[in-house]
Amino acid sequence: MFRILSVILIVISFIWLLVFLSKQKISLNKIYDNYFLSFKNLFKEIKLLSSKDFPSKINWLKKFFYLATIFFFILMMLSAFINVIFIGDDLTGLLLLIHVTIAPLFSIFLAVTIILYAHSNSFNKNDISLDQKSLKINRSKLNSNGYLKLIFWLIVFFSLPTMISIILSMFPIFGTEGQEFLLNIHRYSTLIILLLFIFHIALVSSKSNKPVTVSK
């Protein structure tokens, strides 16, 4: 079930991504190049860390953690989904080893990235306009920046069940059915994060045709 669902959703979202990017006249290669170019530029600017300019330091750290988190995230996703999609088997063997080894690094980087970007991703009037009569969010007025922020907070939200479910399964609390339930929570919330990540990449790429940056 999870295999079929994940294949369908990942294929659909990739097709959507390609269509979306082609409309924006952006190629996947360009995103790939921009990503590594951003990393390269970042290491060129490593001197900023020793400067006395605090905002520059923070800005450098923000970019570093953001790019590194993406790197770890991609590794996590590859190690998680290769077995599931292509072999139809549970995560075992070398891929499990890679997944488990990267997991703590990824969780630290994700937590730091969230701390660094939470403030800049808090909603403001420029992102959401309220319907005065019913107090409902008027979605038609949410701009791309608003969508990016929404995706950011959804990723933050879904990272919690992803992490908590897998950590709970490591303690002798839940039996076999509970373990399977926790594993499903981990799987499905990861799948949602993956889809959100694809949307995030699409929106970030369309927003800027320059090396990948994030909203400040």
């Binding site: 075992t92 499990l96 080894t101 997991a103 703590p104 937590a111 701390i115 933050v156 908590i164 039996g175």
Partner: protein
């Protein structure tokens, strides 16, 4: 002269009678199906001999009673029962993919350890492959053979044994071996009589109804108890002449005897053939045999290993004709399985395991018995002695812990179902003929007659330690075998997972330890959850020092040059040792992993909830300001 018309009549009559007798033989008899009463039926019966004559205890020439005639003439279908699991050895239509405990032909003087199985389980050889006739097979392994099949089927017999069968009689299915609950029923006496080839007397001799003395194996080929000429030719003073006397006190006025038998087979009856004794390889520690947790809970072996009148035993695994529920596997009592409509669990009071904290992948990769069965894992493998191959329970059995064959136990090995399960293992060793790339062991009698003198091994001096010989002696034997017509291809010697051949007067070997070992699944004794593997946490298995993945299995070879060779346990699990070591190593950091992820999740939670509240604050502030503005 028989006309064409009359021959048609005769043929029709013949076909009719054959069909009728077949139908009759397949029919259920009065005792085959119960009426639902749980009452144990009293079996007060007349005894019949194999000719169908009623046995009179006063008759000085009374013959041993026949189970076929006594139990099956009116009440039970012998034909149906004889197709049951314990009596259908040569039925080649049955499954043979599952490796089960073989009958191990062991002879240290010829360096032979040959797993035999009439069912031709993968890796084993049929007794016919080594020209071991049913009579020879019974002489060696018959003490644990319940009768029927190879001991009754004429078509399976070797012509040279014809007269011996006439003397010994057929070994009918011995119902009492399993069903008797009489404290007087002596299975060791049954075994002793099989060894004397007193086949037709064995059931009677072991019962309480008669006293029997004699040794049919020592009788001449023309021995006939009814023929006074042959009897007189035997020295009557010798104790070996078969002499049967029924105990009159066991018979009532109608010459009936009381059979103390039951459908609920007592465990002790099963133990006669299915006992195991784990021994320590260093011989100094004798592990006590603990009983299975199911037995301690009050279950009988037959509660799980049950059968209908066809005696097709539940083997505790999924086999042809059984689904999970009816096969009575661990899962069928302990796990709810909706696929098999097994909605209820807890049969016989079976607890449903919680398996808290154990990732479900374990249940896909491991059989239940890995954690719950056998002795606790140790780095070195232990030997196990089994009734059938170490003749446990017989009079005069060698009680030494290292008596041959050496069966290594608790080898965690991947099975055909791709699950790791605990298995017993032997390293076959035999002289063979490699003809057209098929390795066939040489007939045991040929080996005994020809190779034994060449080897000149003394079984007494080598006792306890499997004998090993020099390469040059093996070269000599293999070279000599080329001169015998019985060897059609290249003579080879199989030992310690290798095939040895002579090339340019040197011993060459082909290494294939997994294919050349023979292992079979073991399920008992089951340990309770409190003693299961993993009860102390993941590191019971996933640690660098755990015997689950680490440690070696000793390869027992018959060559001095191959002594001390071991094989990694991982080889049997289709696992990379490097990978398992590294994976186990990561468990050292597992607490750190948990801590880091918990800390990260906590930070994310704090940030998320903090901004959520801030968001609510902003929304309410915005609504309040807007409303105030509107009212003004």
């Amino acid at each position: 002269m028989i006309t064409n018309k009359s021959s048609k009549y005769i043929l029709t009559l013949l076909l009719f009678s054959v069909s009728f007798s077949y139908i009759i033989s397949q029919e259920y008899k009065v005792g085959d199906k119960g009426d639902g009463s749980k009452f144990n039926h009293i079996h007060l019966l007349k005894l019949y001999d194999y000719n169908g004559n009623t046995i009179d205890p006063a008759d000085p020439f009374a013959q041993p009673f026949s189970t076929r005639k006594t139990c099956a003439t009116e009440c039970h279908s012998y034909e149906k029962i004889s197709k049951g699991f314990h009596f259908n050895f040569h039925d080649t239509t049955l499954e043979s993919s599952t490796q089960t405990e073989p009958w191990i032909y062991t002879d240290p003087t010829t360096l032979s350890v040959i797993p035999l199985s009439y069912r031709k389980n993968k890796g084993s050889f049929s007794p016919d492959d080594v020209k071991l006739s049913p009579m020879d097979f019974l002489f060696r392994f018959g003490p644990y053979y319940a009768g029927g099949d190879i001991s009754e089927e004429d078509s399976l017999q070797y012509p040279e044994n014809y007269f011996r069968w006439m003397v010994s009689g057929k070994l009918e299915i011995n119902c009492l071996l399993c069903h008797s609950k009489s404290p007087n029923y002596d299975r060791a006496e049954y075994a002793a009589n099989i060894r004397k080839k007193n086949f037709k007397w064995a059931a009677t001799a072991s019962s309480k109804f008669a006293e029997f003395k004699g040794n049919a194996s020592r009788m001449p080929d023309n021995y006939d108890p009814y023929n006074f000429t042959t009897i007189q030719s035997i020295d009557q003073r010798a104790p070996i002449v078969p002499n049967l006397k029924y105990k009159k006190t066991e018979f009532d006025s109608e010459n009936k005897v009381y059979f103390n038998i039951t459908k609920k087979i007592p465990n002790e009856n099963c133990y006669y053939c299915h006992s195991t004794k784990i021994v320590s390889p260093n011989k100094s520690i004798r592990l006590e045999n603990e009983e299975d947790v199911h037995i301690k809970a009050g279950l009988l072996c037959v509660d799980c290993h049950s059968n209908e009148i066809d005696h097709n035993m539940n083997k505790g695994r999924l086999t042809k004709g059984f689904n999970t529920a009816s096969a009575k596997t661990c899962e069928s009592c302990h796990i709810k399985n909706e696929e098999d409509n097994n909605q209820l669990t807890g049969k016989f009071g079976a607890p449903v395991p919680e398996h808290a904290g154990i990732p479900p992948v374990h249940f896909e990769k491991l059989a239940c018995t890995v954690c719950h069965s056998g002795n606790l894992l140790s780095k070195e493998t232990n030997f196990v002695k089994t009734s059938r191959n170490h003749f446990l329970g017989m009079h005069g059995t060698n009680k030494a812990p290292d008596v041959f064959p050496h069966i290594q136990t608790n080898i965690l090995s991947e099975s055909s179902s791709e699950k790791i399960e605990p298995r017993n293992l032997i390293w076959p060793s035999f002289w063979a003929d490699n003809y057209e790339n098929k390795i066939s062991p040489l007939p045991v009698k040929f080996v005994e007659k020809t190779i034994r003198p060449m080897l000149g091994l003394d079984s007494l001096t080598n006792f306890g330690k499997w004998p090993s010989v020099s390469d040059s002696l093996v070269i000599f034997v293999l070279d000599s075998l080329k001169n015998f017509k019985i060897v059609k291809g290249i003579p080879v010697f199989v030992s310690g997972g290798k095939i040895f051949t002579v090339k340019n007067k040197r011993l060459k070997s082909a290494n294939n330890p997994l294919e050349l070992s023979y292992s079979w699944k073991k399920a008992h004794n089951v340990r309770p959850a409190s003693q299961a593997l993993g009860v102390n946490g993941c590191t019971d298995c996933h640690s660098l020092s755990s015997p689950f993945f680490n440690g070696n299995i000793n390869i027992e070879s018959s060559l001095i040059s191959q002594s001390g060779i071991t094989i990694s346990k991982n080889e049997f699990q289709d696992n990379s040792k490097l990978y398992q070591s590294f994976f186990s190593f990561t468990f050292f950091f597992r607490p750190w992993l948990k801590f880091i992820i918990i800390l990260s999740a906590f930070i994310i939670f704090i940030v998320f909830t903090g901004y959520i509240f801030q968001g609510f604050k902003s929304i309410s502030h915005s609504v309040f300001i807007n409303k105030s503005k509107k009212e003004n």
